[in-house]
Subunit: 202 residues, 2 copies
């Protein structure tokens, strides 16, 4: 069994004055993941604000898309740089990360792949790659400590992490996994996959 550590994503600060911006960025992330060509008018409608309000905060489509990507990168950073990720033993940190933050990481990945499939600038590449590096760092630590397997390539283990949270998101959307069981199913799956040969007791 996996014990959950008290790892929660750092909650975004949402002062009342920032409510419109938060709604716009939330709607922007959702729409742009599904359709990278979505425009400011679609986002304003989905956020429940007028186009004028959206334009006051984001004068151009480029500014809007930049802000959506920045926020997704910040959220992913927050969960991956949370103290628990580096402090707890790697298996517990992995379970905690999956239980509390799989949606943030899945959304980041989906958004960047949809909007920015071939990042042009160093900053874009950095934003896009950072969560992968965070997950890789955690798996590397688990390998160093003898908690995770060595017989499969490290980049492949990182890929399966993201492939599996993508699968979980699809299962939940299809109603085949209940919201309250996703974290446990993901943690059990990923720890089985990461455990060294001969050790499936976790």
């Amino acid at each position: 069994m996996v014990t959950t550590v008290a790892c929660q994503p750092v909650p975004a600060r949402r002062a009342d004055a920032e409510r419109d911006v938060a709604a716009i960025l939330e709607a922007g992330a959702r729409l742009l993941s599904a359709d990278p060509a979505a425009g400011p008018a679609d986002v304003a409608t989905a956020a429940g604000v007028s186009l004028a309000v959206l334009h006051r905060h984001f004068p151009s489509r480029e500014a809007l898309v930049d802000a959506v990507l920045d926020r997704a990168a910040d959220l992913a950073d927050a969960v991956l740089e949370h103290e628990c990720i580096d402090a707890a033993p790697a298996p517990e940190a992995m379970a905690g990360l999956l239980r509390s933050a799989w949606e943030v990481l899945d959304r980041h990945r989906r958004l960047f792949v949809a909007v920015d499939p071939a990042p042009a600038t160093e900053k874009d590449r950095e934003h896009r790659e950072r969560p992968l590096r965070g997950v890789r760092r955690l798996i590397e630590r688990g390998r160093r400590d003898g908690d995770f397997r060595h017989d499969l390539p490290l980049p492949w283990l990182v890929t399966t992490f993201f492939a599996i949270i993508r699968g979980a998101a699809q299962e939940r959307e299809a109603g085949r996994l209940k919201p309250e069981e996703v974290g446990h199913v993901l943690a059990t799956t990923m720890l089985s996959l990461l455990a060294p040969a001969g050790d499936r007791s976790r």
Copy 2:
């Protein structure tokens, strides 16, 4: 270690007279997976045939798309109904399926999700769902025989199968997995994930 069984997908019969059709269907599958709006002219160019030749075999876009989907379903059927899948013990059958047929199954899944996200007819649904049912049947058999785990939902295990072969295809496209190592990496990953708790020796 997993022993490979001599399971190969049934090779498609390609008489000389069928070469154009085969090239058209192959190019159609590739193009439609990436862009469900691809048209007969794109497919003809990619297949290296004239549009007139394509039209001789497939008078309408609908006929072309139907034929591409039918062929993908037939190929998936062939690998899943191969005698080895039902005869060998489930772990060996799973390893053999992944080694010999992961690309056929990944392509089927990608194609049907792209072209036919919400199948309208019973036949379309049937074509789309059949490979999932084949994989589910194999995992069920492994559970009955005590070879595969019972502590995760069956539909979730089927989902991880397809999520993981999708991940492998992306890794190979990105050059991070060599063609000759994909089968072994996939079999090792999936058997770790399916093994009952306390048994990681396979």
